[in-house]
Amino acid sequence: MNNLNVKFGLRNMFLDGVRPVNELVQHVNTNGSNAYIDALGLKHKELNDLLRETALKGATSITVQNVFGQRYIGTRLYLPNLAKKMEIKIAPYPGNDLGAFLNGHRLIVYGNAQDGVGNTMDDGEIIIHGRAGDIVAMSMRGGKIFIRDNVGYRAAIHMKEYTGKVPALVIGGTAQDFFGEYMAGGRVILLGLNLSKNERHKAHYIGTGMHGGVIYLRGRVEEYQLGKEVGIRALDSQDWETVGQYVSEFSGHFGFDPAEILQEKFQKLLPVTSRPYGKIYAY
């Protein structure tokens, strides 16, 4: 065994060479409740150490620049004693698991996000001025996510809701396969704004295993693109109210005209049963 781990080749990409917070102070610039962090050259943990430290010192509005793939931004900010939730502006490219387990803060990304945005997010808001990768909003249980462009595979998988806590995911572009798979709750709105006229949405197996929640889908989708556990319905007035509200919020973030978006046809995808696999056992 040696300190270089040369013989055994175990390199810890997360923890090796992580510098203590007090050696990183030159990356932070604080001005009252505002702070500015330069993430250039920081490791995942270093950046999150700094964010936590800055939050604990009272900053409530933080701008993080030069983010290139650093993961878990927002995850380390479970600080139940904080008087006010934080707003963090991030540019340009945060890494995987942005806002995983997020506890009520607001993250705004000026650029694209990677995989795992809002993984098991609890509360708060994530706004992405760009696209996001796979498994967006996986097991999300509260809060809102707005994504301007497309998302990858398995978006909204196993999203949940419980009493007053209903998460919402609004996607401006289109999604890839297994969209809404295993969904157990929450509201998902897929707008397809970047599809050309008469172009179908990209995803197949939409809502496979879905047993709760609702997907509002704008634009064309064929029956064969849906999982067998979902049914298509028309929107009722209550649905239009919900969709209208989220679409105007979405448009507010990204500068669209909500009226124009709402002109197009919407469909509502619902699970046909809350117990899709209730009948496969012999007792």
Partner: protein, 504 residues
């Protein structure tokens, strides 16, 4: 009820002894016994009996005898009665045969082919009654080396230490969720773990809010594919977090808590609407590789400020050693291995009885592989699945475990008789049920005492056996195969276990 099936159990009531008190009728959850007032006589419907023996032990006059039904088809060691009955059930329903608890098939139990050593003449044994014996165990990653600084008589550890959890005995209660078991049973485990200074595991059913403050410090909380009840507060309330990849009783498949069991309290704890199926997908959909696992491990560490060790639980399967190595490299602080005989609240029988490998072989293989790669110190190993007594604990530790998980043994201590009907939700012992009439049969005050008694008894036996070996700390037994010998094992088995044959 199925037609054309032989009853599984035969019941005999000694009419001379029976006083028609109807205790059996009230105790049975499957309505086997009933009273006919006109005839002033007790009757029974044998075909509903699951052989839990509750009525027999509660009958004040010992009038009842329950035994496996003696009727047999023509003896046939290939097409035995169980196979025939399962075929008939499936022919009738077209369903998957469900079962509960652990694999009951006669696979070789290696514990019973391993014997322990004791000191004779050449080194003295130790008497645990008069000399200190250390069973304290630390779960978590250990540093590669320890740098110590001496400064004016003060000693300071310079190396960075990782978060570890200390337990007073190398026995931890394995994952049993609130939902799979009753609140009373769940609470009993929590109370016993806290009182004895060890841990219980929440399974993937969440940790009720009212228990977080008092029992969080004794809880390993699970983060599984369904992510039920997982929020930052839940993660931070615990003393360790476990990512559940697999379970020995059903490797590779997820779980369904049927909607009818999702009562109000369970819904609150799991944070899902009442009455919906709680579906845990087979894989975690953010984990398709070791790199993805690493991502979740560090997400959990980030969410808890690097204050808690993260465990990864897998089922023992063919390439378990290589998988465990990947798990350690992914950053796990604890690797939990659940063997072929691990229990469950519900699993397809075909999977429970046929998928996975025995814990003993898996454990030895993992320990050996991690040592060879020089990364054994980077994780603790928790061995689970079929640990029945203190000697099994000793043998597991000698094969390389840091501590063991016990599930079935703890259930038996609470009253379970392994009737394997956990999945029906009609546990007469009040353990695997959400029916208040049944679950109130457990009083957590009393049941937790039974569990601490069990831990105390086993711990004392472990001390005795250690003393006999001339060892005064469980640490010295860890991975110490010199204290094991195999009896009646083939060459390859000894080789995988890394032990010599008896007499060698």
């Amino acid at each position: 009820m199925y037609s054309y099936l032989l009853p599984e159990f035969a019941i005999e009531r000694n009419e001379d002894r029976c006083i028609h008190c109807r205790v059996c009728e009230r105790q049975c959850a499957t309505d086997v016994h009933y009273y006919d007032a006109e005839m002033d006589k007790m009757f029974f419907r044998e075909e509903a009996c699951v052989g839990c023996q509750r009525c027999a032990v509660f009958c004040p006059t010992n009038a009842l005898f329950i035994w496996p039904h003696p009727a047999e088809y023509r003896p046939n060691s290939s097409w035995n009665r169980e196979k025939l009955q399962d075929l008939k059930k499936q022919a009738e329903t077209g369903g998957v045969i469900l079962t509960g608890s652990g694999n009951d098939k006669p696979y070789r139990i290696y514990w019973d082919h391993l014997v322990l050593n004791a000191s004779q003449v050449t080194n003295p044994s130790i008497d645990p009654l008069r000399e200190p014996m250390e069973l304290k165990t630390f779960l978590g990653r250990k540093p590669d080396n320890l740098e110590i600084e001496f400064n004016k008589g003060e000693v300071k550890i310079k190396s960075e230490l990782y978060s570890n959890v200390s337990i007073t005995t190398p026995i931890v209660f394995s994952a049993m969720s609130y939902g799979a078991i009753s609140y009373q049973a769940y609470k009993s485990l929590a109370m016993a773990a806290k009182k004895f200074g060890t841990l219980f595991n929440t399974g993937e059913g969440g940790l009720p809010l009212n228990m977080r403050k008092e029992y969080g410090c004794s809880a390993i909380v699970q983060c599984a594919s369904g992510r039920f009840g997982v929020d930052p507060e839940y993660l931070n309330a615990a003393c360790a977090i476990e990512i559940k990849i697999g379970q020995g009783a059903k490797p590779g498949i997820g779980g369904h808590l049927p909607g009818e069991k999702v009562s109000e309290n369970i819904a609150v704890t799991r944070m899902i609407p009442q009455g919906t199926d709680a579906l845990s997908p087979a894989p975690q959909h953010d984990i398709y590789s070791i790199e993805d696992l690493s991502m979740l491990i560090y997400a959990l560490k980030e969410a808890t400020n690097y204050e808690k060790p993260v465990s990864v639980k897998i089922a023992a399967v063919h390439n378990v050693a290589a998988i465990a190595s990947g798990i350690v490299r992914a950053g796990a602080d604890i690797v939990a291995i659940d063997g072929l005989r691990g229990g469950t609240g519900a699993a397809p029988k075909a999977i429970r009885d046929n998928v996975g490998i025995p814990l003993e072989l898996a454990l030895a293989a993992v320990d050996k592989r991690l040592r060879e790669e020089g990364i054994r110190n980077k994780c603790s190993i928790l061995a689970a699945g079929g640990i029945r007594c203190s000697a099994d604990v000793m043998k597991a530790i000698a094969l390389g475990a840091d501590a063991v998980y016990i599930g079935t043994a703890a259930l038996v201590a609470m009253g379970c008789t392994l009737c394997q009907k956990c999945y029906t939700g009609k546990c007469t012992w009040g353990i695997c049920t959400q029916d208040p009439y049944l679950s109130k049969r457990l009083n957590p005050e009393i049941t937790s005492q039974r569990l601490t008694n069990l831990l105390r008894g086993w711990s004392y036996e472990i001390k005795e056996m250690l003393g006999g070996m001339g060892i005064n700390a469980i640490e010295s037994l860890r991975g110490n195969r010199e204290h094991l010998r195999g009896v009646g094992l083939a060459e390859w088995e000894l080789d995988v276990l890394g032990v010599k044959g008896a007499g060698e």
